[in-house]
Amino acid sequence: MSFVLAAEQLQFAEALHDQLAAADVPAVARQWAAGDRKRGQALWYSLAEAGVAALAVPQRWDGLGAHPADLVIACEELGHHAMPGPIAESLAAVPTLLAVLAGTDEPAADERIAGWLRQLAAGDLIATIAWPPLLPYAADAQLAGLVLVAGPDWVKLAEPGPGLRSVQAGRSLSIVTGKELLAHGAAAAIQQAFEFGVLAGAAQLLGAGRALLDCATAHAVQRTQFGSPIGSFQAVKHQLANVLIALEFGRPLLLAAAVALADDPAGAARDVSAAKVACTDAARLAARVALQVHGAIGYTAEHDLSLWLTLVRAVGPAWGSQRWHRARVLAALAGGS
């Protein structure tokens, strides 16, 4: 047993953090939301160069075939910096799905699928997916080069309907219509893709929660009321402490889910759902407290806080409700696992 990140993983996280900090993601996200995605797409490419887009792509299709924990690291950091785009879809769910569909034969049974995997790994393709009813909308289908829809055991290419605006500025949701059949008898692949999407979403939320706590602590030290920094008041201290506790105890669940997906994807449902429940709750608490600590300042669209507040509200309900995931945890436990 070794339940800590390796030195290389810590370095990967740090490098990614530095890269995103240097890129000024909040500014990128604002341009993205205003419809100007040039800087955002450039950042997507440079993240791909750093390997982020290749993590879930097998090595035989020019990917990294990385451990799911690496995907957690990346998605957490992307959430930490409020990176826009269909992250759980394009970095986790779709490559996982396509990787299973592509199979292990060389050349691939379906060269198109292999091609998409190579493009995804290189950052040349952004993909998205819907899986009604659990994932009824495809996120950001307008800017995706590959839009899929999955059913119980089939996968189709899909045509997206008009993008509905999300609470997160710049994010859109589309009902999709299935077109060409890509695969059938693919229930296991679809399930695995879903688990990876949930995991990535949970990691994004934990990262966003960290950012919200960072902002709130910075503000609490600097903001003075009644002659003292507001961080000196117990009411503020205790709320911030509760956020830290929630985040601190969410993280191990996330990493354990990654380990479960690496070692036993079929049995990972319990751990993936537990992570999603805890990270969503932690991120929501962080959002609630961060706004309360900021007061009206945090309620403005001008303040960067709004980027994380709306991200948490957007990604939180996606990939299955809290109720759905809690029920799945309990079903796994009651089933004797």
Binding site: S2, V4, T217, I245, R323, A334
Partner: protein
Amino acid sequence: MDLAEDDQVAAFRAEVRQWLAAHAPATPLPSVDTAEGFGLHRAWEAELAAARLSVVSWPEQYGGRGASLLDWLVFEEEYHAARGPVRVGQNGLFVLAPTLFAHGTPEQRSRILPKMATGEEVWAQAWSEPEVGSDLAAIRSRAARADGGWLLSGQKTWSSRAVWADRGFGLFRTATGDRRHDGLTYFLFSLRSPGVTVRPIAQLDGEAGFAEIFLDEVFVPDADVLGAPGDGWRIAMSSAGHERGLTLRSPGRFSAAAARLVELWQRAGDPADSALADRVADAWIGARAYQLRALETASQPGAGGFHGTGTPAPAPGRARLADSAAAGSGSGRTSLDRGVVGRGAAGGRPAADSSLGKVFWSELDLALHDTALELLGADAELAEGPDAGWLAGYLFALAGPIYAGTNEIQRTVIAERLLGMPR
């Protein structure tokens, strides 16, 4: 990165499981807070010790096995899953022993630890006083210099199990200093000495779990001063993390309780009541998170030298979000700055880190038992019968947010030491 047990750990788990299956009492012992129950619990400690299972993390010379933190976690999981009896010596084992390892003399260790390991000497803590709850520095009990030792006088209270215990440990004022916590000295004393009077206090559940200890010029030899005179505050604080961290409440306790809650839900829960199902799931998720975080700690290089000395330093860097937040810097780069680790204020990271765990486990314990009572419906108020253990557990859990430093104090510690909030 993996969560699979290696052969050594798996073998140890199997040994513990088999031994407990053969030896653990089939029905609960009488309450440890009764004379009969105390004796039976003491005998149980001797039985554990005979199998070298009473203090697995201690060095062998004192009765342990030098087990790693991971082994200790495994022991605790098995112990609680088997519903092992309450550890009657827990205040000695989990609070005094780590302090002796850190600050005791070799003579003190050799004299005290083996008898503690077998239950021959049971220790009670004597921290609180009538006017001293969370504010430990306000201690009034005092020690006066005497020939070859000291004379202790004063009143201690909320001393768990002091009614039947053999010896006590606590702080006494030996001098007055500039600051309130100057001049405190850490004493070990016999509860059978002339001048000691112990008065039982009935708890909420009617049992005499607490006691008041009145001391009237109780003689203590110099050999029973722990650390230097006047250094008691620093010594007590250095092990405060043990009092509320992993060693006080191991993950195994909550994993076992959560598993029993799931069983109760399957047996007594209305499958249509998703409100309760959600709470059951949350209790299990919470117990799992507490367990996993301990495994994170156990995976640190330093965790091998555990020796029952409490929680090792938390994992460096990224594995602790607190480092990020302590830097207080929006999404700036300091959130991954390794330099932050260990740069806490007085008390340091490990102690403050144990505050996170203390708030978490105490709230988890309450939520878990409250869920069980809700599941029991009208039976929840029954103090006897097959499910009454949940009520007893709830009443016990109610004390969790109070003892070992109230959760309000812990949250303040977390905010100041881990998040850098101003005092």
